[in-house]
């Protein structure tokens, strides 16, 4: 067994074709995922989290989108060089993905059980009967009540959270090495969420499953992840061990996210937000993309893109004027 990372992403760039040329949506993202590691991916809505993960699966939604640079290595294999047939074996087999919008990835005219069983048959060549038995078993694992009966339901007969759990079941059905989970628990109540998180942690411990976990919930990140990556405007703003990121964020955007948690203030009082608007793909600010909203921004920030440099052991940030070490983030 090699000690290298299971998944290694370097300078990944995903762009959209415009009349004037390619515009990057994901811009030079690099990170490693070790065996059994859980990496939380957080950040602004629209910052490119889902796009990054879909690029890893080579499943970009739309003909005008393409990977225009960088490399994605799964063990020894360069995924950007694989043809579609080889990629299909990787998807669902070695890398499982829980999509953010389950209903567009579940077939509306096929029962939930049949969909999971089909994935199992495709990747493992199990018999129809055996595949259905396994499908019911994974549905039970993700906490669908009465799984034998509910395997016969169609997606529209499931609640939002049940569809999300069906999606998790599809992704886990073939026991992948790497799981990409895009907002897997947003439609779940906290007790079911805890049960799913426990399942993922158990799979990590027993099978060495590695996970990229996209979420907006810093509570969930705190409880499950080893490290946290923060995205802003298509780039990584900060990456480091979860304790460092939550207790001593260096990038002002990360610090802002932590400050905006709803907390326990009185009912009906306004919430704190980060002032200003997030950038869009067609109007990216120069220099540091966060500078128009940043309380610490200076002249340099307007002109030069900050390098993604080491600020502490295993902790990198892309900021010209990072918040000081030891300066605890508010809260």
């Amino acid at each position: 067994m090699s000690a290298g990372p299971v998944l290694s992403v370097r300078d990944l760039t995903v762009s959209v074709a415009r009349d004037e040329g390619w515009r990057p949506i994901v811009d030079g993202v690099s990170f490693d995922l070790q065996a059994g590691q859980i990496l939380g991916l957080v950040g602004e809505s629209g910052s490119g989290k889902s796009m990054t993960c879909r690029a890893l699966m080579r499943l970009l939604p739309g003909a005008r989108l393409a990977i225009t640079g960088g490399s994605i290595r799964l063990g020894e294999e360069e995924l950007t060089a694989l043809d579609e047939a080889a990629m299909r074996k990787v998807r669902g087999g070695q890398i499982g993905m829980i999509f953010q919008n389950p209903s567009s990835h579940l077939d509306p005219v096929m029962t939930i059980g049949a969909q999971i069983a089909e994935t199992i048959r495709f990747h493992q060549g199990a018999s129809r009967r055996e595949a259905m038995r396994q499908a019911i078993e994974v549905l039970r694992q993700v906490g669908i009540p009465d799984p034998t009966a509910r395997a016969g339901s169609y997606p529209h007969e499931f609640s939002g959270g049940m569809r999300q759990r069906a999606m998790i079941a599809v992704a886990l059905a073939c026991q992948p090495k790497v799981l990409i989970a895009d907002e897997p628990t947003t439609a779940l109540d906290v007790t079911v969420q805890a049960q799913i998180l426990r399942l993922l942690l158990d799979l990590r411990d027993s099978k060495g499953l590695s996970i990229i976990f996209i979420t907006h919930d810093l509570g969930v990140v705190s409880q499950t992840c080893d490290s946290i990556a923060v995205m802003y405007g298509g780039r990584l703003a900060e990456l480091g061990p979860k304790r460092d990121i939550i207790r001593a964020a260096r990038h002002p955007y990360t610090a802002g996210l932590i400050r905006c948690q709803p907390g326990a203030a009185a009912t009906g009082t306004y919430l704190e937000t980060i002032p200003g608007q997030p950038p869009t793909v067609d109007a990216m600010p120069s220099g540091c993309r966060f500078h128009p909203r940043c309380p610490r921004a200076g002249e340099t920030c307007r002109e030069h893109q900050p390098a993604f440099i080491s600020v502490d052991l295993g902790h990198r940030a892309a900021c010209h004027f990072p918040e000081g070490p030891g300066q605890e983030a508010a809260r």
Partner: protein, 330 residues
């Protein structure tokens, strides 16, 4: 505010509402079985008030929301909107309901027509409800997009060119376009980062204060519910098991299910690992309702009488109702 509320009639009065679905049976697929998604729910909301609905995934929250706005079927019960029973609505009653209410759907992709651009999708609402003269539609669309924190340029995109959170905000903009007096928001900020989430919640607070909009806020995020809602109802397996002023329910929950929900809120503390204390037992099935209190098979405090029919009714103490037989369960 509370004083005026008590001597006014509620805007919405839901009485004993039930919704059933017929679904295929498991081992005998040709035998249809009845699934009781909503089971005798009674709730009311005043103008300017925000009612939170939380609870188990699959407990009937979305089904309840759709039935109340007559976007889904209902099996029994009354839905009084400004005194008119919408369960027996005439076409003109329904038209009035459509003009005065809006739903923000849980699944933003499903709720949007993939062939329409964002501008067309919002413009459609403005036109159907004749909210602005035809010449002003474009300007109003831009304004609505900005209200939900989106760049007006997004009006030219189709849903497939949007991120999850951007799609969700299109759903919110469409609901606001109606200028409704009642909004049912089903997990409307679940896909948003905390800063944008804050912006949307602040917008809802403002609508409530300025225009007296009533809001039913269905959500799994209990910290937000606590921040936004005046009252909260907790659902379990189709029934409301607890209801009361938000501060009171959070400080002193009376139903053991509510208590276990509150205990499971993940805290932002990297030194506190995921609790291994999970709710025991299998989640119950609405196809096969347990006898007595639906929560008893998973309840640490359950006694023999909890398993006896009929299920415990909601009992009132002050402003706070709970459906538990025990006197001080939590």
């Amino acid at each position: 505010m509370n004083a005026t509320k008590t001597n006014r009639k509620p805007l919405l009065d839901i009485e004993d509402l039930s919704v059933e679905f017929k679904v295929a049976g498991g081992l005998v697929p040709w035998k249809r079985r009845v699934l009781r998604a909503v089971n005798g729910v009674t709730l009311s909301v005043h103008a300017g008030e925000t009612l939170g609905i939380v609870g188990e995934s699959g407990s009937g929250k979305s089904t309840l929301g759709r039935a109340v706005l007559r976007l889904g079927e209902l099996t029994a019960g009354k839905v009084l909107f400004e005194g008119t029973d919408m369960a027996k609505a005439t076409p003109s009653d329904l038209a009035r309901l459509r003009r005065a209410t809006a739903m923000i759907f849980q699944d933003p992709y499903n709720a949007l027509n993939p062939r329409l651009t964002v501008g067309e999708a919002i413009g459609e609402v403005l036109r159907v409800h004749r909210k602005v003269p035809a010449g002003d539609v474009k300007a109003r669309v831009s304004e609505l997009l900005q209200m939900v924190g989106l760049a007006p340029e997004l009006a030219a995109r189709k849903p497939s060119g949007l991120s999850g959170g951007q799609c969700q905000r299109i759903g919110i903009a469409r609901a606001l376009a109606v200028e409704p007096r009642l909004i049912i928001a089903d997990e409307c900020v679940a896909a948003l980062d905390v800063s944008v989430q804050g912006q949307i919640i602040n917008l809802l607070i403002e609508l409530r204060e300025r225009m007296g909009v009533a809001l039913i806020f269905i959500a799994h995020d209990l910290a937000l519910v606590r921040r936004l809602c005046d009252r909260v109802a907790v659902m379990y397996l189709g029934r409301v098991v607890e209801e009361g002023p938000t501060a009171e329910v959070f400080a002193a929950p009376r139903h053991p299910y509510t208590a276990s929900l509150l205990r499971a809120i993940p805290e932002i503390d990297p030194d506190r690992p995921l609790s291994s204390e999970l709710l025991p037992g299998d989640p119950p099935s609405p196809l096969n309702l347990p006898r007595g209190c639906a929560f008893h098979p998973r309840c640490a405090l359950a006694e023999a009488r909890c398993a006896e029919d009929p299920p415990p009714p909601l009992r009132r103490r002050g402003d706070h109702l709970s459906a538990c037989l025990l006197d001080n369960p939590t």
